[in-house]
């Protein structure tokens, strides 16, 4: 399977995706605009509260090609953050202590040759660092077997996708053999202390639906995951984050191909929750693209919707301006406000 970009699919273009989200594939499907929903609950314009989370996408290259991936990541993606841009990120962190959490994502961030250096440099600044590890990278090649020890050495929080605790659903979404490799990797992480009580080494898992539906209750699902993974594989972890699939990129392609697009969008709109809308992650997050441009969130990044602010690149980062910015919204935002809400840290309501 190739990325949408490698296939020259029109959905590789953010503008084309936005057109479909506004008017449907044939131009005759429109739902209540997200802005109007926010207005109904006095939440428009949606403003940044105060940026605390600095999320850096250090490259779109990945060893997997998941069917739902909003990054359209894969082995054929060559967009990788340079060491110079990473240095600019570090320089910004040095002078902005309010950026307490650094969330390193991709692609598979470990495929960036400067990943280790970058993570270690940020830890020297005494920040909490999250790495979004897809698990299979750990066992993809012997040269990555060191990763659990490396995460431990720098006390990185590991957040890993495991769409379900059964092989069938996981492999359908992430590719054949992914579940088995993920279990091996989880065992390696447990072996160095990740996910174990009293080690302080945090291992959080991410559930996202393997189909055109919303996540069930995060709390109930976490109980089921813990029980199933312990009973079947003797695996432990800390928390489960239930994340809704946003209707963009490859998941949008799936929705359109499977004829589920309209019903999924209706589902998201009908499940709009104003409490979730008030707590959306973009209010306290800034997302940095592989080339240093700034976005309100990883989803806006993939739709090429840059921040609505004169400070648009890491080289011109101005926290005062960014803290006052208006968030750029669109119909895809319904994905973060449906039901219990959704963020990179799971439910928000």
């Amino acid at each position: 399977m190739k990325s949408l970009k490698a296939e020259h699919n029109i959905l590789a273009d953010g503008q084309e995706q936005l057109k479909i989200l506004e008017h449907g594939q044939t131009g005759d499907f429109a739902l209540i605009p997200f802005q109007q929903k926010l207005e109904q609950f006095d939440l428009y314009p949606l403003k940044s509260s105060q940026i605390e989370i600095f999320q850096v996408n250090i490259g779109k290259m990945c060893n997997q090609v998941c069917k739902h991936c909003h990054v359209d990541a894969g082995p054929d993606r060559k967009e990788i953050m340079t060491r110079e841009t990473m240095q600019q990120c570090i320089d910004v962190l040095k002078v902005n202590p309010q950026l307490k959490v650094v969330d390193i994502t991709g692609g598979a961030p470990e495929l960036n040759v400067n990943f280790r250096w970058f993570a270690a440099e940020i830890k020297k600044l005494n920040r909490h660092v999250i790495v979004r590890c897809n698990l299979t990278i750990i066992v993809a090649n012997k040269k990555y077997y060191y990763l659990p020890e490396f995460y431990k050495q720098h006390n990185l929080e590991v957040v890993s996708s495991l769409p379900f605790y059964t092989q069938d659903r996981t492999d359908r979404q992430r590719g054949n053999g992914v579940f088995e490799d993920s279990i091996k990797a989880l065992k390696m992480l447990n072996a160095v202390g990740y996910g174990k009580n009293d080690t302080g080494l945090i291992l959080n898992l991410v559930y996202n639906p393997a189909g055109a539906f919303l996540p069930p209750s995060q709390q109930s699902l976490e109980r089921e995951y813990k029980q199933a993974l312990m009973e079947r594989y003797d695996i432990e972890f800390n928390n489960l984050f239930a994340i809704t699939n946003l209707p963009i990129s490859r998941f949008l392609d799936y929705l359109l191909q499977s004829g589920n697009y309209e019903s999924y969008m209706e589902k998201l709109v009908n499940a709009y929750n104003p409490v979730a809308a008030a707590n959306v992650m973009c209010r306290n997050t800034i997302s940095i693209g592989w080339d240093g441009y700034l976005y309100d969130c990883d989803f806006n990044q993939m739709l090429e919707l840059k921040v609505n602010c004169s400070s648009r690149h890491i080289s011109e980062f101005n926290i005062t301006q960014l803290n006052r910015r208006e968030i750029v919204i669109g119909q895809h935002c319904y994905g973060c406000t449906a039901g219990a809400g959704s963020s990179c840290g799971g439910a928000v309501a």
């Binding site: 379900f164 059964t166 069938d168 659903r169 639906p209 189909g211 539906f213 919303l214 996540p215 069930p216 209750s217 109930s220 699902l221 089921e224």
Partner: protein
């Protein structure tokens, strides 16, 4: 009026039942909501029971709703089909067990 007795769009209007009788409708939906909460049985287990019952009572709205709900709550296709077979076995068994009554009657009147 639609020409079909069943229309999938009508499922979305289930909540409107209260429009004609507010008090009873609201009591029903309060009760319904309470029944499906996590309690001695989990909401997930209840969803699979509901799926089986939906097939037993052959309600297309319920089958639509609980096929989605059970799958969303993590039951596999095979588990869901086994639940349908349970409903089928009970329905079939309910007919067949009446065969005993037939046998009793025949034995009563036959030489």
């Amino acid at each position: 009026m639609n020409n079909n007795y069943y229309n999938s769009e009508d499922l979305k209007k289930f909540g409107n039942i209260s429009d004609f009788q507010k008090n009873l409708g609201e009591k029903f939906f309060d009760y319904y909501g309470e029944v499906f909460k996590d309690s001695e049985l989990t909401a997930r287990e209840k969803s699979l029971i509901a799926l089986a019952v939906a097939h037993a009572v052959q309600c297309p709205y319920c089958i639509d709703a609980y096929s989605s709900d059970a799958y969303e709550k993590g039951w596999s296709e095979a588990q869901m089909m086994e639940a349908v077979h349970v409903a089928c076995a009970i329905r079939g068994g309910a007919s067949l067990v009446h065969g005993v009554q037939m046998m009793n009657k025949v034995k009563e009147i036959a030489m």
